[in-house]
Symmetry: C2
Subunit: 242 residues, 2 copies
């Protein structure tokens, strides 16, 4: 049986994994992943072989996992959050096509959901998820999506708001959104959701423009109806809502 | 301790719940939910009191759950998928504000993720989630979001594509999207994701316009880069991807 699981492990804590994800990792004999995520799960599944590589080695990781499965082992490749949202699922399916390897995608709690839960309910209505990383996407495309999504009054979830190299992407994104949305729009940021050092912050869009995000931050920009409730954020489920 | 958990139980099967969701429901003495979802979890948590109401009784359910918590019981209110995406989290937070009830949101695998995993990786890049229900949102707003999201080349996930009353919403949505996207855009639909009677279908946007969705269907419309891989759908993670 040539089997490859592509597993979303959720934000990081063992409790935020689904039972199906745990069962898949139990079933695998070899687990492939980015160093940080592999280290998160290693204590839970000690008797496995791990193939671990650094950042931006997605293609290499996928190839290694497919090769293991082709050789008859049950392999798992892990993504943080969900494997299908800016994750490894697509690459794994493409690489496994025609090899006889059966791929099973196991969904997980993506940062939009884990971060939202910490802030309240910032994406309780229609929302758009946009990655600010211009590594694989031209910035013009990102800018166009931000513009049109703001014009459409979507709640926004920004993935990859910053990296060591990209320090001004969030500021630029906020300035674009402010062309259509009020600078007082209710926003929030979550760092290390569901992990050690978790931090949440509620602020206005104007304040968000000068907030320093890092690689472990997920950013939320409300729609025109988003409000603060207690210490959190709520976007009502509709415009006719009571 | 006045505690209210708002729990996303995922698509339905016990395996797709997170461990945190199971622990929250274990901890609760009373579980409040819509009939269908309460019935999905009842066998897993037999020793609880259940308060179950029919469709569109969200406000009533939330009030009942908050009242139980105010009275000193540990209560849980369940949503299918994730509690924060078209779920009960916002309403619960608003109703609990100022009552002394502590609300904990427990995220779950929303239909965008569970459905995507069954189809492959249709939302591997920026995506927008739009509900086609005009119960709480004017149709003009939905139409504007569809138009701008299509113009921005987002992958789209359509929640509530149909109900008994609304039978032409999906057709109208597809016609709007086709003003900006090719009728050959790769699309998919998933019925009863992760439940009995699960069905997946890959088709073009033109075909989707005459597809009959129901209340248990989640619809995916690819972006300009989405392609079929084997029997599934993949949206590459970027435009510079290899």
């Amino acid at each position: 049986m040539n089997k490859l699981y592509v597993v979303g492990i959720g934000p990081g804590a063992a409790e935020d994994m689904t039972l199906r994800a745990r069962a898949a990792l139990d079933d695998a004999s070899v687990i492939v992943g980015y160093t940080t995520y592999a280290n998160l799960i290693r204590p839970l599944f000690p008797g496995k072989e791990y193939i671990v590589t650094g950042m931006r080695r997605e293609t290499e990781r996928c190839r290694a996992a497919v090769e293991c499965a082709k050789a008859g082992r049950t392999a798992a490749i892990v993504s943080s959050g969900d494997a299908g949202v800016y994750g490894m699922a697509g690459l794994a399916l493409e690489m496994a096509a025609g090899t006889g390897v059966e791929v099973e995608i196991v969904p997980g709690v993506t940062a939009a959901l884990s971060g939202a839960a910490r802030l309240g309910a910032p994406i309780g209505h229609d929302f758009a998820a946009i990655s600010l990383s211009d590594l694989l996407t031209p910035w013009e495309k990102i800018e166009k999506r931000l513009t049109l999504a703001a014009e459409a009054d979507f709640c926004l979830v920004l993935y990859n708001p910053a990296s060591r190299r990209r320090t001004d992407a969030l500021k630029r994104a906020c300035e674009i959104v402010m062309r259509h949305a009020s600078p007082d729009t209710v926003c929030g940021a979550v760092r290390n959701a569901g992990r050690e050092g978790e931090e949440t912050l509620v602020m206005t869009l104007r304040e968000l423009a000068s907030y320093t995000a890092d690689m472990c931050t997920t950013v939320f920009i409300g729609n025109s109806q988003t409000k603060t409730v207690g210490s959190g954020i709520v976007t009502p489920r509709g415009y006719k809502d009571v």
